[in-house]
Symmetry: C2
Subunit: 146 residues, 2 copies
């Protein structure tokens, strides 16, 4: 099977704290106090950046290994910009991220040429990167329990 | 200021384990053994689903409060489908998620009409939902340290 199905369940707790479960793992997210939370954890947009940076890191590891490129260390600095008027109800502004910057700091003795070649593949084949930059079909439905 | 800048740093550890830092918070992600990890944490696509489900939960809380809709409980079941041939190098298949389904289970005594109205707003104004469904500009650059 080449189709991989990933599943998660999110459960809204007190206030805006949310516990998500995936297999045997949990992720708690929350909002800072200024947006109504208790600042007990990072917020969802920050978690999205972590998912992206992690996916970019993992795909880099895989591609580097296939290409025989030695990476001594890799850090990725991510930044996402969002105009809060969008999700607060101003329909002329999108509610989501206006843009994301992802800056790789690669410690390696390989040639610039080799790293360029690797990075072209990283940009092309990152699953979360592709999802976030090209978008995907998102189907939302709901049921009501009394 | 209405522009909110979110930042994260991802650091590739041993194998495909990645530690991401956001403010005072950390997120560790990893891959299952079959994809080269040690299964110490969920993987990035699962984390993306958690970010989405959490964002949908939080925006529901906010919109419900504004509308005076009482929600007793909210769970969201998310499912994302990915064809692994895409990130493994088959360029005829996208590397990212082919689609995401998000199913809200809402415990509430409100009318169906009121819940429908609320859900229209939830679908329209969720920041991570909008980012994932409509995509965003993703800029990747890199520097090499010897």
């Amino acid at each position: 099977m080449t189709i991989e199905v990933s599943k998660a369940t999110s459960h809204l707790l007190d206030g805006v704290k949310v516990e998500s479960s995936v297999r045997e793992f949990k992720m708690i997210l929350d909002e800072p106090e200024k947006t109504g939370g208790t600042n007990s954890a990072m917020h969802p947009v920050e978690a999205l950046l972590c998912a992206l940076g992690s996916c970019q890191s993992i795909i880099t590891r895989g591609i580097a290994e296939k290409m025989g490129v030695e990476i001594e260390d890799l850090k990725i600095e991510l930044e996402g910009k969002l105009d809060t008027r969008g999700f607060e109800g101003d329909t002329s502004i999108r509610p989501g991220l206006a843009d994301i910057k992802s800056k790789f700091i690669i410690k390696s003795n390989e040639s610039q040429e080799k790293i360029n070649e690797m990075m072209e593949k990283v940009k092309e084949f990152c699953p979360v990167g592709d999802t976030v930059s090209n978008g995907t079909n998102l189907e939302v439905d709901y049921s009501i329990k009394k």
